[in-house]
């Protein structure tokens, strides 16, 4: 969806809110996802394609705040983890994603790892309040 389309959709959805209703927005944000083995970061995924559409969408709420329709009240950054039993499982999962790539050298290293590993994803949750 184009950024201007996002704002139009958000405006329409927010008409469903009562005055002073809440908006909670949860999304993945940079830095890119990191691959961890035994607690050590061994490399980063390429999330550029994902962020290219996700971040403009999130910016739509900021645009509505700039227009005076929403008031930002609070935000929090936090990590989440995706766990895999083996490196091959991790590589196989990432390979199936449409908008994320794994550098070949990282994929070769991770695929050889026989034990548990995980991906660390940086997230942001934000709360806005709708103005009457």
């Amino acid at each position: 969806m184009e950024p201007e389309g996002v704002v139009d959709v958000l405006r329409r959805l927010l008409r469903s809110l009562v005055p002073a209703g809440l908006v909670v927005d949860l999304l993945s944000v940079p830095p890119p996802e990191q691959v961890e083995i035994a607690g050590e970061v061994v490399g980063e995924l390429d999330n550029d394609a994902f962020f290219a559409h996700a971040l403009p969408a999130a910016a739509g709420l900021d645009a509505l705040a700039d227009d005076g329709l929403l008031v930002p009240e609070h935000e929090e950054r936090f990590p989440i983890y995706v766990h895999y039993p083996t490196g091959a499982d991790l590589v196989g999962d990432v390979t199936q994603r449409e908008d994320t790539r794994m550098p070949p050298s990282l994929a070769r290293r991770v695929r050889r790892h026989p034990g548990p590993c995980r991906i660390r994803d940086s997230c942001l949750v934000r709360r806005f309040r709708a103005l009457p």
């Binding site: 969806m1 389309g5 996002v6 959709v9 958000l10 959805l13 927010l14 008409r15 469903s16 809110l17 009562v18 005055p19 209703g21 809440l22 908006v23 909670v24 927005d25 949860l26 999304l27 993945s28 996700a54 969408a57 739509g60 709420l61 609070h74 929090e76 936090f78 990590p79 989440i80 983890y81 995706v82 766990h83 895999y84 039993p85 499982d89 196989g92 999962d93 997230c123 949750v125 934000r126 709360r127």
Partner: protein
């Protein structure tokens, strides 16, 4: 392939820290298979959750607990097309949805 997405529950914990869902009428945009819905729906007064993925919504409907069926409704829809009555919800929850 075995994959465990956020088994620690960090997503849901952060969302519940951000807003009090108790007694609220919630519109969830981009609910997927309901992974987060199950966490706040017991607190909410009602939930309309939608996602463009027919497969995800079918899974959500199939996995909906009996005690939630009276107040949680899943719809296949895109954000651009869903119709929600004006001023009918108290909280709109977006999860990577647009």
């Amino acid at each position: 392939m075995t994959r465990a997405l956020d088994p620690e529950g960090a997503h849901l914990a952060a969302v519940l820290r951000e807003a009090d869902f108790r007694g609220r009428r919630v519109l969830e945009v981009g609910c997927g298979e309901g992974r987060l819905t199950w966490g706040f729906a017991p607190l909410a007064a009602s939930v309309l959750a939608f996602d463009p993925s027919e497969e995800a919504i079918a899974q959500a409907r199939a996995e909906c607990a009996d005690e939630l069926r009276a107040k949680v409704r899943f719809e296949v829809a895109r954000a651009e097309e869903i119709e929600v009555p004006p001023q009918s919800v108290d909280l709109v929850f977006f999860s990577w949805s647009l």
